[in-house]
Symmetry: C2
Subunit: 351 residues, 2 copies
DNA sequence: TTGAAAGCGCTAACAT
DNA sequence: ATGTTAGCGCTTTCAA
């Protein structure tokens, strides 16, 4: 491939070089039939030589709406978003919109840059998960209709999963299984859900006799969970609650690799209920949120905003969650593990 | 939320209604400082009452390039694309572009609609996987620089994984393990890779003494694999090769659920090497393609095209693949399965 | 078949 | 602080 200097070439340049009127050039491209075949051929030749490219934006009638919506998420590779994306797509299709997926890759800088670049192009935003500050988010919200997911933001319509109830259910499950302490493996610090989950776990735990400590932050990925295992092994808890399923799965694998039995020695709980959690071995106990609904609700709301609806309530819309009890949690064992050796020693229960 | 009739309101409407000049309205929004606070407030009020929305496209200086690239894939939820997307994003960031992800959800109609909507907005296309016809794809390629992945398309630059060699390696592996027949579980018919994989398997199998039959098409998902299991159980082969890992995983689980041991009774092979394949039980033998490189190479090429490079070679760029032999394949057993009962019976080898 | 000219909705000089 | 005016790159009447 040979590079050429990049100076935007317009139809005027082409017209001049080809000795025709700009409108003829326009027609040559836009409605091929309406122009003399020879003229058209010559124009195309000249255009090609000049390196002409139709301008991305003005090409379409400037009055046209783009019917494009942007959905911003922090990592497309995270299966957690699959259903959310599906829901959003479904609702968008129904409303005659197309969803453009933007991926911040867990970086607030990238997120902001992408958002800013999209403002002139899309009619509205759905923020699936943001790593930006509330105020930065509000700045964008001022420019285009926006709905935020997984974060409660004053003055911007938001839809969140009921993380508080989910955390309470987890605490109660573990208590019922005889655990009296658990370690929370934290995800990204900029994640709103992370904060809510840990605080809810800790506070409700304090009320009901489950001491929840925290390690992290870790990347919200399988690798992140693997990394967390090292810390966990230093002082192995009988129960681990992870920020999300991917971390939980990583932890589970990390533990199994070290010879620690899950759930016999350590119970593991996640959040999200992604596909793998249903097919891993053991299957993962997790808090399932109605991701698909979250996505479609959000899109319906932006579309309503675009159509002139007004946002009223200052409260976030809360969607119910469900605790899926599966194979990775079990009655607390009376055994204690010496992780370095991977052997087990019998002991009384400790606080 | 209250809906309102949708008649595009411009700054001129607002200006007239507020008794000011259009430019004042423009400034009130674009440059808040430069306008009397009272006037600005009044304008905002009027604008709001009229349901004014900044026009998505003309808002930015019309001369600006969008610096946006579209990446079209057939299913964002398929982890197969994760690395491809990453590669594309990395290369795009480096070139100062933003990647917009578009998802056809396995539908050529949706794909075409999305592509057409994106033409005026993006500077170039990377088609990660297409369900459209070659000619339909070429139509879009005429309007914007385009690079196609996973499909060889004459006149349009394309980058493909070396499916042929991958298939050959699979055939040889299975032969070496003593198998003399295998069933290929097909994916989407519109998938170019599907055709190449099956033909390569069948042809190379014919040469080396592995009879490859085909069932399908099935959805390229875990559920698709589960569905395929039913057909497979009717006449259980000693080896299954799936269009992709997701199907392979579905098949594996479907078989295990029915009491068929993998790999003892049936060997299973996939294509792609997605994350789960490394952590499933058993781990999955699969053909790994350099997805990340595919993505970044494609993006580098569109960017070059945008910058005026010319596409020359009519051949697709072929990237090497690697067979990862893992836990789901084993020496062919002498036992035969009576799948309906889930029991095993000893028998001699059969053709 | 082709040219001239008028916009599309908005921003940015340049005036006032 | 605000109004006037000239474009942005392209398409589209309207004439010729």
């Amino acid at each position: 491939m040979t590079e050429q200097p990049r100076v935007p070439v317009t139809i005027y340049d082409v017209a001049k070089a080809a000795g025709v009127a700009p409108s003829t050039v326009s027609r040559a491209f836009a409605r091929p039939g309406r122009v003399n075949a020879d003229t058209a051929a010559r124009i195309r030749q000249v255009a090609h030589d000049l390196g002409y490219r139709a301008h991305p934006v003005t090409q379409a009638p400037v009055t046209a709406q783009t019917r494009l919506l942007a959905l911003m998420i922090s990592d497309v590779a995270n299966p957690f978003y699959s259903q959310l994306i599906r829901g959003a797509q479904l609702a968008a299709t129904e409303a005659g919109y197309e969803i453009l997926l933007a991926d911040s890759r867990e970086s607030s800088t990238r997120e902001r840059a992408a958002l800013e670049r999209l403002v002139p192009v899309v009619e509205g935003f759905v923020i699936g998960s943001s790593r930006m500050s509330d105020s930065a988010l509000r700045t964008i919200a001022k420019q285009r209709p926006m709905v935020v997911l997984n974060r409660a933001l004053i003055d911007v319509p938001s839809v969140v999963a009921d993380n508080v109830s989910g955390a309470h259910a987890v605490v109660e499950l573990l208590r019922d299984l005889g655990h009296d302490a658990a370690t929370y493996v934290a995800g990204p610090e900029a994640s709103w859900a992370d904060g809510v989950r840990f605080r809810s776990l800790r506070d409700h735990g304090a009320h009901t006799g489950l001491t929840v400590s925290r390690i992290g932050p870790f990347l919200p990925t399988f690798e992140g969970g693997l990394a967390a295992t090292r810390t966990l092994l230093e002082k192995l808890p009988s129960a681990v609650i992870a920020y999300n399923d991917l971390i939980a799965l990583g932890v589970m694998h990390g533990l199994l690799r070290e010879g620690v039995a899950v759930p016999e020695q350590v119970s593991v709980v996640g959040f999200d209920d992604i596909l793998i959690s249903r097919i891993s071995l053991p299957t993962l106990t997790t808090v399932a949120a109605p991701m698909r609904q979250l996505g479609s609700t959000a899109v319906k709301n932006v579309v309503a905003l675009i159509n002139g609806a007004r946002h009223r309530s200052t409260e976030a819309l809360v969607m119910p969650v469900q605790l899926k009890v599966r194979g990775s949690t079990a009655q607390r064992s009376r055994k204690r593990v010496s992780p370095a050796l991977g052997t087990t020693i019998v002991s009384g229960s400790s606080s």
